[in-house]
Subunit: 210 residues, 2 copies
DNA sequence: CAAATAGTGTCTTTTAGACACTATTCG
DNA sequence: CGAATAGTGTCTAAAAGACACTATTTG
């Protein structure tokens, strides 16, 4: 059955845009800097993206692009914004749905030949205006990390409050007071009963997200 | 010049989705209830929407749909979410970009034969799962109205603090303490120097948004 | 023991809210 | 004057932050 509108036309009779997805994968480097995953495009860099295929959701397309363009397994792409300026793309009418995905550094097994992790402070001059997407992604992630512990699940299963605070400071780009951080976050966590002896100093209790 | 990809194909060689926009126009009724503009669709109701045309932005398409389906002049549609389930629409592959637009009641000159304003508390059973869009629109507008005075510019050019508070209470769906509201909002407003004599009681100074 | 880190008591500052008072109008 | 609304002083409660203290480990 083909559906027809009041003029007897089907969906195929109207021009349609191409729809792309571009994803800012954010992660925290071992040195504590917040970074974004970029794909090489000739001499330039861009966010990994692709056109959406029939029968595919946007999130699925975003994950496929990450895998195909960078070798990375993404997790849960979230929509940020649809870029829709009609003359954005010289190839024609293309809408691009920007996404954010947060992936732990330890799970980022990217193909160094085709991709790089660049600290967000050093992102400038990406192709297709992707700087703006990075900016929106960082802002969204920072909003998420303002009040609750590791909402994007970047920590491993169990962790100490100190390591959780380090993560939050990396994401937010600011230092946090240790005592206030503990008082805010501890009630939102579960204790594992475990202890982590990290070398010098009093061993720390370990927690997990609830 | 037609751009070709690495397989020598153009954008036209790939299947593309139809892209629709659906807009929740929110407004405050004279009785103080927050309401959404619905378009009649046979015996049922839905948010006004349309397919996006070539050369047109999403916001422009949303405004066109409001005008054509309800007779309303919208203002500044903002994106909420892209609904992308591949089997959403029986007519085929259709992405729908949900929008929010806030319009003052006094500017809502809608066509009563084709449209209605329904209090958001009474919205249930809209076509195409549009209940969910209304829910998202209300949530977003409430977030906006939590901390700053009339961010969607629903008030006229000058207004008293009491009338501003009434608006905020309508949008948020809760009562606010009068003294705290004043102390939060007044520093974010400019005085006009004007006075509004509203009948009984001390006349109120008028303000405008900065 | 010194150094280092975990964990916490307590004081101060800030902010939101409660409450009540004064100010100014209409009828 | 009484009723009604505008505007504000002040107290309390809650939350965030500063600071310093105790606790427990390694070397």
């Amino acid at each position: 059955m083909t559906y027809r509108d009041s003029h007897g036309r089907t969906l195929q009779d109207y021009p349609r845009p191409s729809v792309a997805v571009d994803t800012a994968v954010l992660s925290v480097l071992p040195d504590g800097r917040l970074a974004v995953l970029l794909a090489n495009d000739g001499d330039d860099a861009r966010l990994p993206g692709t056109f959406v295929h029939p029968g595919e959701t946007l999130a699925r397309a975003a994950l496929r692009a990450l895998r195909d363009k960078t070798g990375v397994d993404g997790r849960e792409p979230r929509q940020l914004h649809v870029f829709d300026a009609p003359d954005r793309d010289p190839r024609g009418w293309v809408l691009s749905v920007a996404h954010l995905d947060a992936v732990p550094y330890r799970a980022l097994d990217f193909d160094a030949g085709r991709a790089e992790l660049r600290p967000v402070d050093e992102v400038r001059g990406l192709l297709y205006g992707h700087d703006e997407i990075v900016r929106m992604a960082v802002e969204r992630l920072r909003d998420d990390y303002a009040a609750s512990p590791d909402p994007a699940q970047l920590m491993p299963g169990t962790f100490t409050l100190r390591s959780l605070q380090n993560l939050h400071e990396s994401v937010l780009g600011i230092d946090l007071p240790r005592d206030t951080f503990r008082r805010t976050m501890e009630p939102q966590l579960s204790t594992t009963g475990g202890i982590e002896r990290g070398g010098v100093g009093k061993p720390a209790r370990t927690f997990r997200t609830r």
